[in-house]
Amino acid sequence: MEFTYLDNAATTPMATEVVDVISEQMANNFGNASATNYFGRQARKVLDESRHTIAKSINAKDSEIVFTSGGTESDNTAVIETALSRQKLGKHIITTAVEHEAILKSMAYLETLGFDITYLMPNSRGKITVDQVKSALTDDTILVSIMYGNNETGAKNPISKIGDLLKDHQAFFHTDAVQAYGQEDIDVKAEHIDMMSTSAHKINGPKFIGFLYINDDIHIPSFVKGGDQETKRRAGTENVPAIAGFAQAVKLITPEVKNERRDRYYGFKQKIQEILKTNNVPFEVNGPTDEHALNHVFNLYLPGVDRGVLLTRLDLEQFAVSGGSACTAGSLEPSHVLVAMFGEDSPKVNDSIRISFGKDNTEDEIVKFSNKLVDIIKDLTN
């Protein structure tokens, strides 16, 4: 028996084509891209080509892509450096209560420095509206950071509308697209996005590499201090093999591939609900139920089912899903996203699991998973 991996919002398996590219680069192209010798030029060539591939994928210019260690560093950079460098223009920042910790902890840090942060609350489906942003906006607002799509519920925010609202405002518009990149069709120009965070390992690329898109019209200082790499916007020798792997992962996601996956994942959601219903297992979907969501993320409330026990049982039966983040002692914490949606006293906060799909998942696996889920829930609730 083999493991069925349904935790793709946490990370994804690397595509074999990506592994091949990385191995090839590691074996044969070790130069420092900043070096002016032959080896440096070879590395630089791959770096430039990779940057071009990635820039094209979001309709950005090559010069607007800054490679970082991943989503967290991109988020930290966008939020903290924007705030610190623009505080003379105002100290107000708008974000949401359902952002990733990389944003929320950065905001908490800025609060200690005297910044005023507005946390927009999501509706019961996990979404933020453009009107909420509009009413929170002031003349002192210097940054609006709102995630493209949520990593726990799949709820998508009206990014292009918010971009439109902000295009004539002094506030920079940052979006954390770590979950959305590779799933959604993103056009940073059309959507008036100033900064955007991504991560390679969510799209079958390697870990510890990502990029921060920074519109050429704006400037923020480097978060990591050191050399002049990435046109002085991110110090440190570029990890060319990982960047080449990232670009390969991006190449694999053609518009057709993207569409096929969106449809397939939406079908998976329907299938799971259908099997639960047929077997009279009570459930509710946390987050959007329509297809205008990040379809690879599916959050289910299973009343009366302890998620810790359920996850352990599923793991022992070789199905990997997620119950949210764990504390450093391994026990599950209440999800801040579900708390923001339903309140901390809601049983949904503790009795929910997240299932997230990836490129290799098949309907057959989903059916097997759903049946196992039904078996375990019946066993636990009888």
């Binding site: 810790g308 026990v309 026990s331 599950l332």
Partner: protein, 372 residues
């Protein structure tokens, strides 16, 4: 061996004993699952929980052995069923035994329930105790092989249906042997220091900790003859027979050190007297309640056996009178020092731990000692 088909959920604390338990069970062919129990929210001001280190050791050991590991949170169960009891006993001027209660309510109840939800056939931890199944299928609890480490005192309230599910892989071993096995297997916990004291207090100052939860009421400290010797910091901080912390030196009648020989809760008086062997510290009879027997077998209304009145004490011969309604009275063959209300009296028949009850009052020559 058909152990292969049997699933054992091992409560792993991040210590060497439960690490070796898991290793041995794995070697015996069981399907072993490691589970770290998080029973206490001990996050410091920076939000760092110190259980982290223990959990990381569980992860290292489990990966070394090659078993899956998980974490389960029993903070609420521990608080409601162990800590509330713990505070309550102190409020009454008694000296509770949270380890007994933890085994009874958490390790052999909440944890067993959890393990059963994982379809466990057995549970195990790192207890120094042994068990034996007789021809009738009744499981008996036996003292641990290492007399110095024997933990049957803490297991005396375990019920038959719970013991039926328990395995004690290191129960027959010496501690030194357990450490040797851990070292040979390269387990990260091989040289880890044994935990000391009450688990949730750890290395912290006991008085300070207790004072955070219970208001301490200072009062008078006097001899049984009424001679005032000073102030006490709050009766809950003192245990019968305790020497340290009295804040008074020798002198007096005999120049011997001073000991707590009694308490009067209603008057908030602490009685102290001189000499480790002060006669006021000796009892020849006790009354106890919440009697339970591990096998569930009937031992009759009156029987002779041996008993311990606190952990790691020598056994004393006793005659037990079962009074019904969970109550029991116990006569000692010889007087025993510092019988403490709130602690367990645990009965033994040779190597077998029969069960126990919670001490309510101590007597000397039919006179009740003023211990609470």
């Amino acid at each position: 061996m058909d152990n292969k088909k049997k699933r054992v959920v091992v409560g792993m604390s991040g210590g060497v004993d439960s690490s070796v338990s898991a290793l041995l069970l794995k070697q015996q062919g069981y399907e072993v699952i490691g589970v770290f129990m998080k029973n206490w929210d001990d996050s410091d001001d920076a939000g760092v929980c110190t259980a982290t280190e223990d959990y990381e050791d569980v992860a290292k050991v489990a990966n070394k052995i090659g078993i899956p590991y998980y974490s389960v949170n029993f903070e609420k169960e521990y608080w409601d069923r162990v800590f509330e009891y713990f505070l309550d006993e102190y409020r009454k001027g008694r000296t509770p035994n949270p380890d007994v209660m933890c085994n009874k309510e958490v390790k052999f109840k909440a944890f067993l329930d959890y393990a059963e939800k994982l379809n466990a056939d057995y549970i195990a931890m790192g207890h120094y105790a042994q068990s034996f199944r007789d021809d009738n299928g009744v499981v008996h609890l036996l003292r641990g092989g290492d007399a110095n480490k024997d933990q049957t005192y803490f297991l005396s309230t375990v019920q038959q249906h719970q013991l039926q599910k328990a395995l004690f892989p290191i129960g027959g071993m010496q501690k030194s042997e357990v450490r040797r096995i851990a070292e040979e297997a390269g387990l990260a916990t091989a040289k880890k220091k044994d935990s000391t004291g009450v688990c949730f207090i750890g290395e912290r100052n006991f008085r300070k900790f207790l004072g955070e939860f219970l208001p301490a009421q200072a009062g008078t400290m006097m001899t049984p003859d009424g001679e005032v010797k000073g102030k006490h910091a709050g009766l809950m901080y003192y245990t019968i027979g305790q020497r340290s912390g009295l804040g008074i030196g020798g002198n007096g009648k005999s120049n011997e050190p001073w000991f707590v020989v009694g308490k009067d809760m209603s008057k908030n008086i602490l009685y102290v007297d001189q000499g480790y062997d002060n006669p006021r510290l000796y009892a020849d009879h006790l009354e106890a309640s919440d009697l339970s027997f591990i096998t569930g077998l009937d031992y009759g209304d009156e029987f002779h056996c041996t008993a311990k009145f606190r952990y790691r004490q020598q056994d004393t011969g006793v005659t037990v009178h079962v009074l019904g309604d969970g109550k029991v009275s116990v006569d000692f063959d010889n007087p025993v020092r510092a019988i403490t209300p709130g602690q367990e009296v645990v009965f033994f028949d040779g190597e077998e731990c029969l069960g126990g009850a919670t001490i309510d009052a101590a007597y000397m020559k039919t006179k009740k000692l003023q211990y609470i």
